[in-house]
């Protein structure tokens, strides 16, 4: 593997960074909403 992007690194790394943030953000947001919904339903079913 080669991570030396030369002079183009200033464009390549931000692009990879933004993509990573977007993807990880989407995963965290989706899983958090799922857990919230599950907890809420469980609490309601207990009543």
């Amino acid at each position: 593997m080669n991570f030396d992007m030369g002079a183009y690194g200033i464009y390549i790394w931000p692009a990879y960074g933004i993509s990573a943030v977007a993807i990880l953000g989407a995963i965290v947001w989706t899983v958090a909403a799922w857990r919230r919904a599950k907890a809420k339903l469980a609490a309601l079913e207990k009543k």
Binding site: G6, Y8, A26, A33, L44
Partner: protein, 237 residues
């Protein structure tokens, strides 16, 4: 269509999606690991130098952004014709991911455009029609939130999604119909060197599987939320 309706039943959907989700999630992670490994092992392109590595994140984001719109359009058609509530849930659940990947494709494209074209943005047919896709997603999500009655919102959104579908072939063929700064199609026409094709295809598969995984979880979340709402209504009455 019977098989489809069986899986469109929320109970069946929860059972089936719960069973396949772990496998799809692992396949997604594998695609990203292999795709990134291969992507960072390619030699620099003779024209584009090291910026070729941007292709492995820009093109998959672009492809999945359009695929998600197609998924919303199919669900919208199912909703309008058969009035199945799960198809509305599925269409609505996909939209935020569509908007997100469209934004990612635009930003990574801009960061590729600057070193290769000398500009982050140009109002050519490809970029403009793709920006329109971003606004279509925003408009679609806004319309869902604007109409309180869920059945009416679903109908209006389904119609908007199907009308907006005309943008997808325009994006696809924009590089053929008009003279664009954006390069033409290079995967199907075999213009791309094989050494770049493998990481690109694997990353494309990874992005699509990632969307599919997240989409399933969003639909499952929406089903649980509906059950909770029904319980609260029962308790109130």
């Amino acid at each position: 269509m019977n098989w489809l309706f069986r899986y469109a039943n929320p109970h069946e959907f929860m059972r089936l999606s719960g069973a396949v989700l772990p496998y799809i999630a692992v396949a997604t992670a594998l695609c990203f690991a292999i795709g990134l490994y291969l992507g960072f092992s390619v030699p620099p392109d003779y024209q584009q130098g090291t910026t070729i590595t941007l292709m492995f994140i820009h093109v998959p984001a672009d492809v999945v952004a359009e695929l998600i719109y197609g998924a919303i359009a199919v669900c919208s058609l199912l909703s309008l014709v058969w009035r199945h509530p799960l198809s509305d849930t599925a269409a609505r659940a996909a939209a935020p991911f569509g908007a997100l990947f469209t934004a990612v494709a635009i930003i990574t494209g801009a960061l590729w455009g600057k070193p290769m074209w000398g500009t982050y943005w140009v109002w050519d047919a490809r970029l403009t029609s793709f920006l329109l896709l971003f606004f279509l997603y925003l408009g679609y999500m806004a319309l869902w939130n604007a109409i309180e009655d869920e059945t009416r919102a679903a109908r209006a959104c389904a119609i908007l999604a199907l009308v907006g579908l005309v943008d997808i072939p325009i994006i696809k063929f924009s590089v053929d119909w008009w003279s664009t700064l954006h390069q033409g199609e290079s995967i199907m026409s075999g213009k791309i060197a094989p050494v770049y094709l493998a990481p690109l295809l694997i990353m494309m598969l990874g992005y699509n599987l990632l969307f599919f995984t997240l989409w399933m979880v969003r639909i499952r979340t929406a089903i649980l939320e509906r059950r909770a709402r029904n319980l609260m209504q029962q308790a109130a009455s």
